[in-house]
């Protein structure tokens, strides 16, 4: 690419999964989201403001 070209950083698609558990920690609701990466099951806890519901 030439100097001066307007670009954007290549990003992977946003993680999309299912909320499998919820809990309250320090007065904040956390959501355990489960999704698949390369066919493997991956999980992570997210705060509510890190997630948005996906329309079915």
């Amino acid at each position: 690419m030439k100097t001066g070209t307007t670009v954007r950083v290549v990003q992977p698609p946003p993680i999309e999964g299912v909320v499998v558990e919820r809990r309250i920690v320090a007065d904040e609701v956390e959501h355990l989201v489960e999704w698949a990466e390369d066919g493997q099951r991956v999980q992570r806890w997210f705060a509510a403001d890190q997630l948005e519901e996906v329309a079915k």
């Binding site: 290549v10 558990e21 320090a26 991956v42 999980q43 806890w45």
Partner: protein
């Protein structure tokens, strides 16, 4: 003008000025370290079978029903069997992954899992241990020098969440609750993170994806666990 008495050490102001004059480096070191905490809980004997029944139902229930069952499970009183706090070895693979993602990452979502080390085939934890060498078959001479507790003891690895970093340390926001399914002898715990290449660890016991960040042994020695016990494990990482 600073006057230093003859034969006395230079004052701090003089020493730093001298260091700058000869282009000496003033360094602040970062050393990766970590501390695990573990609490083993068990229901009162007369409630043990009810606890195990609810726990097993949660494992196969859909998320909505599982939430209701977990609420029932939480109401069963627990007793503390033992407590332990233990330091760990932050392994080279984990340091490399952390540095890569922190200083170079542009497409990174943090992801960690926590598992247990059992006693079968144990020899030592080493800085050269890797996720790729994790074994959970309970056999002798495991590649890492230790075996992961098998799925017959712990159905799935735990998923930690972390709070806010302060004073160079970051701790789990809540302990990871690991349900014991059988009698076993547990020696310690380990933490996996995304690999340098970005591959996430999984909750599947024995899976070798991701990078090994740290491993540690209970300071009080090997611990016996039984069906119905819950190990609540916390972790604090520091630099």
């Amino acid at each position: 003008m600073n006057r230093n008495p003859i034969g006395e050490r230079a004052r701090a102001q003089s020493a730093s000025a001298a260091a700058m004059a000869r282009a000496a480096s003033l360094t602040e070191n970062a050393q990766a370290a970590g501390l695990y905490g573990a609490v083993c809980l068990t229901p009162a004997p007369h409630l043990l079978q009810e606890y195990i029944g609810l726990r097993d139902a949660i494992l196969v229930a859909d998320p909505v029903k599982a939430e209701a069952l977990r609420e029932q499970l939480r109401r069963i009183p627990q007793e503390v069997k033992w407590l332990d706090g233990f330091r760990n070895t932050v392994v080279t693979e984990g340091k490399n992954a952390a540095l890569t993602h922190f200083l170079k990452g542009s497409t990174y979502t943090a992801s960690q899992v926590l598992g247990l080390i059992e006693d079968t085939g144990y020899s030592a934890i080493a800085a050269t241990n890797t996720a790729a060498n994790i074994t959970a078959v309970g056999g002798g001479s495991p590649a890492n020098g230790w075996n992961e507790a098998p799925s017959g003891t712990l159905a799935t690895r735990g998923t930690p969440s972390f709070g806010s970093a302060a004073a160079g340390a970051l701790a789990t926001s809540a302990a990871v609750a690991l349900s014991m399914l059988a009698t076993d002898t547990i020696k310690g715990a380990f933490l996996l993170c995304r690999s340098t290449g970005g591959t996430a660890p999984t909750t599947t016991v024995g899976n070798t994806s991701g990078a090994l960040y740290s491993a540690g042994l209970f300071s009080g020695g090997d611990r016996a666990v039984a069906n119905g016990d819950t190990l609540n494990v916390s972790y604090t990482a520091s630099l």
